[in-house]
């Protein structure tokens, strides 16, 4: 054991800048994703204030388009994705009995790429205005009809996208290779399964948007003609590339939430998940079908009836596995002892909300009907029901459920319930009327609407609801602050958990499991509990644990690309080259330096049980 010395103690900032520990990276994702979530929420609030009354002049069309674009871009790429990665990082290795992810260095690199990509997009606010062509950025509006700001979109998302792709590959490799002995695929908790399918979707979907963004960047930076009709390009190609990524992206977001809900409902009903294998099957099927349906975003593009009909039918098929999931959740609760903790409130509230979102999805899937719904507030309502009512509820549920595991403190349950009810009621007030606004002819992305079209009341209610969601979110922030002032005394297993993460202390030591556990069935910890064991049976003798060293390189590599982007945007070639060289040099260093890591002797650490 030549390297069994622990690394030097670092300051908090340096510790987080260099960390390769999945638990700390998870926290980084939460902090960064949380800040972007608040930013996106603030943008949403400004949009709703503008639309509170007809002919409002709070924002003009230009500012509205910027805020509307940034709301969508921020929420999807910079809030939803990292918050999910946060949950996956914090929980997934624990759930499969691993000491870390497969590639800890890559994990850190993925985070910093996402972070600097997100910062780059948001720099636009201070450098001449932000992107304004919608989060979908359809050319030609996003090329020759928009200013400089779209460069921030194209390059920022490219960098953030690299980060996401790296993260997805890492989790795939982790789940395939790092499972504890006995943790077969069909014994993995549902959250691990859904994260697995999500990672596979990332692997196949993100390259499409990468290609799209490269073409867009070339059109913008170097006056290429990929989307320029006048010179033989075709602007529709962007829409295909974008949605080949964009639709699986929806399932990338929602599947991990399905996983959270499955674990939470099962735990708080004190019952095994009903129909585990069909839940897994449904997850995989949703992931597979998710790639067959992208053109349902394009029914009105003029693809013709054959394509429209085919994509319509394939979209409807997704209702089947989704229905399977809903019924399995209901029957998991059937016959159980349901505890309405805050985590479970979010999970239970998710069900009716998601059913509504799913039904409007089937309605939208019929091309003939979509000719009316398309690009109206009906669509806006639909996708907020699935993304907020689905994914955000799932994330909140996961946060309340796993908070003690991540931070060693229990979130306050009373504040949590206020948080839930304000957000839940606010959510429905905001988005339910939008279905009707859409049916009455209100297009999406309009900065103002005219009176006497029957749109006034619905918009007013919708804005009031948005304030309800805001209050809910503020209560959550207060909850975090209050919780942080309390002692760090969360037990290892506060919820009577069923899965492996509850077998280690809260928060877990940096090596997670003192001894890798032997898994003897689905709901690994529950199996041991039923067998009368106190904890997991170890699969290995107690010994030195090999740990990867921290590294500042991922941070610097991301900074390099960040600098290079500015060089490209401002047409300062030397700056672009310097930035790229910084990144390449870090890659060289990473390849040349032989880093053996270090070892921890768990027997030396006191007060740690595993």
């Amino acid at each position: 054991m030549g390297h069994s010395h622990a690394p030097k103690k670092k300051g908090l900032l340096m510790d987080y800048l260099t960390t390769v520990d999945h638990k700390k990276i998870g926290i980084l994702y939460f902090v960064a994703g949380g800040i972007f979530f608040l930013l996106g929420g603030l943008e949403a609030l400004l949009l709703r204030i503008q639309l509170i009354v007809p002919n409002n002049t709070f924002l003009n069309g230009a500012t509205f388009n910027e805020i509307m674009t940034m709301h969508g871009t921020t929420m999807i790429f910079l809030a939803a994705m990292p918050l999910l990665f946060g949950l996956m990082n914090a929980v997934l290795p624990l759930q499969i009995g691993a000491r870390d992810v497969a590639f800890p260095f890559l994990n850190s690199l993925g985070f910093w790429m996402f972070f600097f990509g997100g910062v780059l997009v948001n720099c636009s606010w201070f450098l001449g205005g932000s992107p304004d062509a919608g989060w979908t950025a359809y050319p030609p509006l996003s090329v020759s009809f928009s200013g400089f700001s779209l460069d921030f979109y194209a390059l920022g998302l490219q960098i953030a996208g690299i980060g996401t792709l790296i993260g997805g590959i890492n989790f795939l490799a982790t789940i395939v290779n790092m499972r504890a002995p006995g943790m077969t695929f069909m014994r993995m908790p549902l959250f691990t399964w859904t994260s697995f399918v999500t990672s596979a979707l990332i692997l196949f979907a993100f390259p499409a948007v990468t290609v799209g963004l490269v073409l867009l960047s070339f059109d913008r930076l170097f006056s290429a003609n990929f989307f320029n009709v006048a010179n033989g390009g075709n602007e529709i190609i962007w829409q295909h590339l974008f949605w080949i990524f964009g639709h699986p992206e929806v399932y990338i977001l929602i599947l991990p939430a399905f996983g959270v809900i499955s674990d939470v409902i099962s735990t708080f009903s004190k019952k095994r998940l009903f129909g585990y294998s069909s839940m897994v099957f449904a997850t995989v099927l949703i992931g597979f079908l998710g790639f067959m349906v992208w053109a349902h975003h394009m029914f009105t593009v003029g693809m013709g009836p054959v394509a429209n009909a085919l994509f319509g039918i394939s979209t409807m098929l997704i209702a089947i596995p989704t229905g399977i999931k809903i019924f399995n959740w209901l029957f998991t609760m059937w016959g159980g002892q349901i505890r309405f903790t805050t985590a479970n409130l979010w999970a239970v509230g998710f069900i009716p909300t998601f059913v509504i979102g799913g039904m409007t999805g089937v309605m939208l899937a019929a091309p003939a009907a979509d000719y009316q719904y398309h690009d109206t507030y009906f669509v806006v309502a639909h996708f907020h029901y699935v993304i907020v009512g689905g994914m955000v509820f799932g994330i909140f549920s996961g946060l309340y459920y796993w908070w003690p595991k991540m931070f060693g403190r229990m979130l306050n349950e009373t504040l949590g319930k206020w948080n839930f009810w304000f957000f839940f009621i606010g959510f429905h007030l905001t988005f339910f009327p939008q279905h009707f606004l859409g049916l009455m002819g209100m297009q999406r992305r309009i900065f103002t609407f005219f009176p006497n079209q029957g749109l006034d009341f619905g918009n007013l209610i919708s804005t009031i609801g948005a304030f309800g969601m805001t209050i809910g979110t503020i209560i959550f922030l207060i909850n975090i602050a209050v919780t942080n002032s309390k002692p760090k005394n969360a037990p290892a297993d506060p919820w009577d958990g069923r899965t492996l993460e509850w077998a280690v202390p809260s928060p877990p030591p940096e090596y997670n499991f003192k001894q890798t556990p032997q898994v003897r069935g689905y709901d690994a910890l529950w199996v041991e509990k039923m067998a009368g064991n106190k904890g997991m049976i170890p699969a290995e003798p107690l010994g030195h644990i090999h740990m990867p060293s921290g590294s500042i390189l991922p941070f610097i590599m991301s900074v390099g690309l960040f600098i290079a982007s500015f060089g490209l945007m401002y047409e300062k070639v030397p700056v672009a080259i310097i930035g790229a060289l910084i990144t390449l040099f870090c890659m060289l260093l990473r390849s040349l330096i032989d880093d053996p890591g270090y070892h921890i002797d768990p027997t030396e650490e006191k007060g740690v049980e595993a």
Binding site: N65, N234, F274, A309, G335, I338, V362, R445
Partner: protein
């Protein structure tokens, strides 16, 4: 749909009420693995429901995609979207207009939709669904009005700053009125437009004609103004009166900002009496009705 929702909600409510953890409740509930019968039921029923929905979906999709362009009975209109206005051309009838689409009641209107700049989407909610207006290609579409009236039209695809203001109108009238309107439009083309407002016509010829045609004379950069006096709105959404028109001509960018091809502001270029004469002249441009 509603039926499915009700079924789910009944089970949902029953479960939540019946299986709450009660105070003092002990023991561990039966750990059920699942049920093949139930799984088959809730897989099969949705499949049947979807087949039921799919059949009309496919047939309607094909019906809506029918191409009436070669139908001799259909009225053909070429729709061209611009930031932020709509151009309508009747190729068979030799007439062009903008913003107000006149159609006869009860006839199929075959549309060829395209765009001059960015992607727009043609939408008349009460008469038909949407069809995107893509630069560089033509989409076939059709609509039909079964009763006379003025129907609102909108742009449904984000097209820039003034996307929200890109409204238009569809005026459905009986065949006789439509024929009369077409005849009036055609007459306007051949006439050298004798007018009582000589100054207005002169200001128009000097400042506006290069972009705005009357009849078939003049530029095609901006909307054709042949029947301008009978338009429903100024700029697609303002009241149709002289004050609004004056406001528009004085500074169009204040009313509909952000177009790449901008109409210049004439507020400082025209003397007040020229402006008044021009407005008066434009409001008087009416084909026989």
């Amino acid at each position: 749909m509603v039926f499915v929702f009700v079924v789910v909600m009944i089970i949902f409510t029953y479960v939540l009420v019946r299986y709450r953890k009660r105070p003092g409740q002990e023991g561990i509930p039966k750990q059920v693995e699942g049920s093949h019968t139930l799984e088959i039921i809730w897989t099969t029923i949705p499949i049947i429901l979807l087949i039921v929905i799919a059949i009309p979906t496919v047939s309607t999709t094909f019906a809506l995609a029918k191409n009436y362009w070669d139908d001799p009975d259909a009225i053909k209109v070429k729709v061209t979207a611009h930031q932020f206005w709509w151009e309508f051309e009747y190729p068979d009838l030799g007439v062009a207009t903008a913003q107000d689409l006149h159609i006869p009641v009860g006839k199929k209107i075959a549309l060829q939709i395209s765009s001059k700049d960015v992607i727009h989407s043609f939408w008349v909610p009460a008469l038909a669904g949407k069809m995107d207006a893509n630069p560089g290609n033509i989409n076939q579409f059709w609509l039909q009005a079964d009763k006379p009236g003025v129907f609102k039209g909108k742009c449904a695809e984000l097209c820039g700053y003034s996307h929200a203001l890109m409204d238009f109108k569809v005026i459905a009238e009986d065949q006789a009125a439509f024929d009369k309107w077409i005849a009036g439009m055609k007459a306007a083309e051949s006439a050298q437009a004798p007018t009582s407002n000589q100054l207005g016509q002169q200001v128009y010829a000097q400042n506006c004609l290069a972009c705005h045609a009357i009849g078939n004379q003049g530029g095609k950069v901006g909307p054709n103004l042949t029947d301008f006096g009978n338009r429903q709105t100024i700029a697609g959404y303002l009241d149709h009166n002289a004050d609004e028109l004056k406001r528009w001509i004085s500074n169009p960018d204040e009313i509909k900002a952000g177009a790449k091809v901008k109409m210049p502001a004439f507020g400082d270029k025209l003397k007040p009496e020229e402006m008044d004469a021009l407005v008066d002249y434009l409001m008087g441009l009416k084909v026989a009705q």
